[in-house]
Symmetry: C2
Subunit: 187 residues, 2 copies
């Protein structure tokens, strides 16, 4: 019986991929073990349990989202940066609904939690978008929360298929970006 050669990173990556495929709620330890060619209890040598796995998937997702948004914003400013960031974020969530779902309702346990760092990086990327606008010092936090609200709200509603009615979603998304741009400019 040769070893499978797993480590926490591999397990988490496979878990995230599987969550994207079948949905976070249908990600079971058994299914993940099967995917990795290993028996269920073996997973516990690499992650502490389902909670821990979920937390690690969340950290991975936040980190990847931060990368995606961060690089989308590179070299752009103002409306361009806003649109690029929004698109990057939405694309990430739609491409990886399972791992993004893992981030919802999970809090970092402490400042040394990798999730805290990833979360911070994502916020930095959002903050970079705001630098292209003339925002009063006192309003930056509010604007940051607004951006997060918009991005998170739109992505999760769409991922949950919560927009059933007629109008085209891409159009709505573009409209939303315009809306935010106007608001930030006029703020």
């Amino acid at each position: 019986m040769p070893r499978a050669g797993l480590d926490p990173a591999t397990v988490v990556a496979a878990g995230a991929a599987l969550a994207d495929e079948v949905g976070l709620d249908r990600l079971t330890m058994g299914l993940l073990a099967g995917r990795l060619g290993v028996r269920t209890p073996s997973l516990y040598k690499h992650v502490a349990g389902q909670d821990d796995l979920n937390r690690r998937i969340a950290a991975l997702a936040l980190s990847e989202a931060a990368d995606a948004v961060g690089s989308a914003v590179q070299g752009r400013a103002g409306r361009d940066a806003l649109a690029a960031a929004a698109r990057a974020f939405r694309a990430f969530v739609l491409a990886h609904p399972g791992r993004y779902a893992a981030t919802i309702g999970v809090e970092p346990t402490g400042p040394d939690d990798p999730m805290a760092a990833a979360s911070r990086r994502l916020l930095e990327a959002f903050l970079a978008v705001l630098r292209g606008y003339r925002i009063a010092e006192a309003d930056v936090d509010h604007a940051l929360r607004m951006l997060r609200t918009l991005f998170h709200g739109f992505a999760t509603l769409q991922a949950a298929d919560g927009f059933q009615w007629s109008a085209d979603i891409d159009e709505s998304f573009a409209w939303l970006i315009d809306f935010a741009d106007r608001g930030l400019r006029a703020g």
Copy 2:
């Protein structure tokens, strides 16, 4: 053994209340049965299972949210209506996080699903807010989605404790309402 006198509505109401108390993820059939003074299998005489229960809780939550937002909007227009609706929605989600969580990612099975009707009523209430603004016919759907995105995004992020950093949340919320109001006015 006298009967407990349950019916689907009672079971669903108790389930929603319990979800609010302990969190939707910790709502188990056993816990609910205990709360109702009955053994677990008895619940299956009133709801078809956990999925069905969740779906019914979601319908209840949407219906209540529609009532709350609908009555908040009554007799108000424009910015007042927007602010009242936003506050009512947020208050509802914060007061009933468990049942609201039940609505996420659940789709009505058909047009006769009670959830569909409740969902429609909530949208009507949001639509009423928009009537106080001068919005081009073609933009109404987009604006509606924007409102839903904002309300849902803010409420869920806050409910999940996703706003950890410094600035005051109520202030951010007020700022967000201003932001939306300006945007809708200038649209």
